[in-house]
């Protein structure tokens, strides 16, 4: 009996994922993931020590996959194509429906592309662009899956909220940046001290009701900086073979 459970829960996963390594990012010469920089790696231990995983998950769920048909060029007969587009559904299609729509538009002279998009409540909330995969956690020790979502999922927080100052303010006084936040403040990751000869460049720029007394400043301890480095390093949203989607890039104006 022991042998059976050992085989099912230790041996089988080891055979399945034990050889996991960096994988190529779709349609690119890049690989994923990279080891986290030292500070972010330290931050993982701060994340763990403070029990962040008690209220935050790092796993995005995906319910389904859909195709969006996107017009690449209207071709020589733009009026006919735009009249046709008005009659068609272009988003959230099945593969067959997307193919049928593409064929119709191509027949009218337009040029289309089919985009693959992930579907599900987590994706709709903006927590990620695809489901989490084993590679997302390849270099994490220990892995901080989390199982309870009192706070939002953090698998892609580095892409969603990439501002280090915002993250520090949020750790010191969550309600200063998110009204009605349930998150407890982590003030012990910061020092409130008398301003010396000049204010520290690291001092938080807090709104009035959260600011310390005049002549004092709030500076992050190394732990806070490490934790923020870790949070900013969480971006599990590149397209991979086992989690495909079409990245949509808007060129910076």
């Amino acid at each position: 009996m022991l042998l059976v459970s050992w085989s099912a829960f230790v041996l089988a996963p080891q055979l399945q994922l034990g050889g996991a390594k960096q994988v190529p990012v779709l349609n690119s010469t890049e690989v994923y993931p990279h080891t986290r920089p030292g500070e972010a790696n330290q931050g993982l231990q701060v994340y763990r020590a403070n029990g962040c995983a008690a209220c935050h998950t790092e796993q995005v769920q995906q319910d389904g996959v859909a195709c969006d048909v996107v017009l690449a060029s209207a071709g020589k007969n733009p009026d006919a194509v735009s009249n046709l587009l008005a009659t068609l559904t272009l988003r959230g299609l099945s593969q067959e429906a997307a193919q049928a729509v593409s064929d119709k538009i191509t027949a009218a002279g337009g040029k289309v592309e089919t985009h693959i998009v992930a579907v599900g409540p987590d994706i709709a909330r903006g927590w990620g662009l695809r489901h989490s995969v084993a590679e997302d956690f390849l270099y994490d020790n220990l892995v901080q899956f989390g199982s309870l979502r009192i706070g939002p999922d953090l698998a892609g927080v580095g892409s969603r909220l990439p501002d280090a100052n915002w993250q520090l303010l949020h750790l010191y006084a969550p309600q200063s940046v998110v009204k009605g936040s349930l998150m407890p403040p982590f003030r012990y990751l910061f020092t409130t001290r008398k301003i010396g000869a000049a204010p520290s460049p690291d001092a938080l720029n807090l709104p009035k009701e959260f600011a310390p007394a005049d002549g004092y400043e709030v500076v992050p301890k190394p732990e806070a900086k490490e934790l923020v480095a870790y949070l900013l390093n969480l971006h599990a949203d590149v397209p991979l073979y086992d989690a495909p989607f079409t990245p949509v890039v808007v060129a910076k104006p």
Binding site: L26, Q62, T114, I116, T246, V249, A251, K252
Partner: protein, 199 residues
């Protein structure tokens, strides 16, 4: 509780009879096993490490791989641009004074053909060059020589279609042909040499 009436005379040994297990137990077990096997086949992905829900199997996952098109090329192009070109030419394509001219609105970038443009990253430039009416005299190394055909094509397409530029796309085959046409030429180009070749 009433004792069931003994079917054997008192004192006689109890003997198991030969009545069979009911047939429905076998039918039910086999049906459940069959349904379980069907469910396993549909949802397990046969323990393939790449197959996650909602993909049922490797073939379905394969069919949902995005085909490369303009969107994929733009993502690839932007990544290459920001790693290689953006340091001098700026993430916004506006260039940096004293470092590199703007790519947005540059006549070299938005030319009808991409032949001259492709030679610049492949070989580099040297000497005087005029960009959008402004004279520059800076060298550029052959930054694109080590890029793959598809990366270079993606990045050229990216600069030709971003920041208000509206020129045609460049394909990996175009770059392959241009690279093959270089022969043994390895020296940086001058503005005159570029102008002498077809657009």
């Amino acid at each position: 509780m009433s004792e069931p009436a003994p079917s054997t005379p008192a004192g006689a040994e109890l003997v198991s009879d030969r009545s069979q297990s009911p047939m429905w137990i076998f039918v039910l077990t086999l049906t459940l096993l069959y349904l379980g096997a069907v469910y396993f086949d549909r949802h397990s992905g046969w323990f393939d490490k790449d197959v996650y829900s909602p993909y049922a199997n490797a073939a379905m996952l394969e069919s949902y791989q995005p085909k490369s098109g303009a969107a994929m090329a733009a993502a690839q192009g932007r990544r290459v641009y920001e790693q290689v070109c953006g340091l001098c030419h700026g993430a916004d394509g506006l260039g940096k004074p004293g470092q590199a001219p703007a790519l947005a609105g540059s006549e070299w970038v938005i030319a009808a053909g991409h032949n001259r443009l492709a030679h610049i990253p492949l070989l580099g430039i040297n000497g005087q060059i005029s960009v959008a009416g402004k004279g520059w005299n800076l060298g550029m190394a052959a930054m694109g020589a080590s890029l793959s055909d598809s990366d270079l094509a993606a990045v050229l397409t990216y600069i030709r279609t971003s920041w208000g530029n509206q020129a045609g796309e460049v394909t990996a085959d175009d770059i392959k042909n241009i690279r093959a046409g270089l022969g043994g030429h390895l020296q940086p180009m001058s503005s005159d040499q570029l102008l002498a070749m077809p657009e």
